[in-house]
Symmetry: C2
Subunit: 153 residues, 2 copies
DNA sequence: CCCCGATAGTTGAACGCTCAACTAAGCGGC
DNA sequence: GCCGCTTAGTTGAGCGTTCAACTATCGGGG
């Protein structure tokens, strides 16, 4: 039997297009600012943030990948770059000989601390300054719902 | 004078993280599905969609870049690929000798028509099925506001 | 104790995007 | 009619991501 496509109705269509436009423009802008001001793409910034928040400023590669919403491969390449920049150091995991631990260096922490104010300001200016408190709450609920939904399917 | 960073409050922090997680996971998923089922990334799909909706299924490169939310350079590279795949054809613009017109080929249209149902189904399953009608409306307003805000700054 | 499937992580190639530099052509003022 | 600024579009290098293939280790069942 032929399953009919459940096409988007006009409301959904408009929402989807607006979402695509906005999220692409937002991330492009933030990425460009971060690249210009801190010399790193947003994905790398996020890796440094997650490491900085972890106990001992270190995480197993897999946990870091999970935290940063990254594939293992992507993280592996990224950490290689961050290591070359002197911002991250790799160590053998003491409890699992397969494992590697990524450690944020002092240099990495300092770089992150220097980049953070500008980036946060960008997030505020480009996103939160445009939204009412109610909309911020709506966006949080929507995002949490979608994220939850995606991991379940 | 030192300008104090306007850090994110806990609500904003949570919203921002949820948004990052959800939008990354959503786009990654749709991109992977489209690559698997139609052999093209989402950015290329969108270019074909815009062309298919234009009168004569053709657009000036600049207009296409604008419509697809792409830089000129990105579009130039993308159209080169789409042309190699036989989905798009370049023609000289009759009214501006600097100009190029991207034309969707019949092959491109057929490919798009074959890819669309699966992709729309994905958008519905991964996004709209998780949201209430009210949330869809909220997401539209938020997205339109942010997009508007970004183009003004 | 030894398989064997699962898990941890890396690697290289192919591909897409960004950035800056470039060519070519339009256009306004003198 | 020509100069200079702007606009249209392309190009190549460098970087980040993806995908599949690979090595190494873990850990449970026989």
């Amino acid at each position: 039997m032929v399953v009919m496509t459940r096409w988007l109705n006009p409301d959904e269509q408009r929402t989807w297009r607006a979402y695509l436009t906005a999220s692409r423009a937002l991330m492009d802008t933030l990425d460009r600012e971060l690249q210009r001001d801190a010399g790193m793409p947003h994905a790398y910034y996020e890796i440094l943030v997650r490491l900085s928040e972890a106990p001992g400023r270190q995480l197993r590669m897999s946990d870091l990948a999970e935290a940063a919403g990254s594939s293992r491969s992507r993280l592996s390449h990224a950490v290689a770059r961050l290591e070359a920049a002197g911002w991250v150091r790799r160590e053998d995991c003491p409890t699992d000989r397969r494992g590697q631990v990524a450690v944020l260096t002092d240099d990495g922490f300092a770089t992150l601390a220097a980049a953070a104010p500008g980036h946060v300001e960008g997030v505020r200016r480009h996103l939160f300054d445009a939204l009412s408190p109610a909309q911020i709450d709506q966006l949080r609920r929507i995002s949490e719902t979608v994220a939850e939904h995606l991991t379940r399917s």
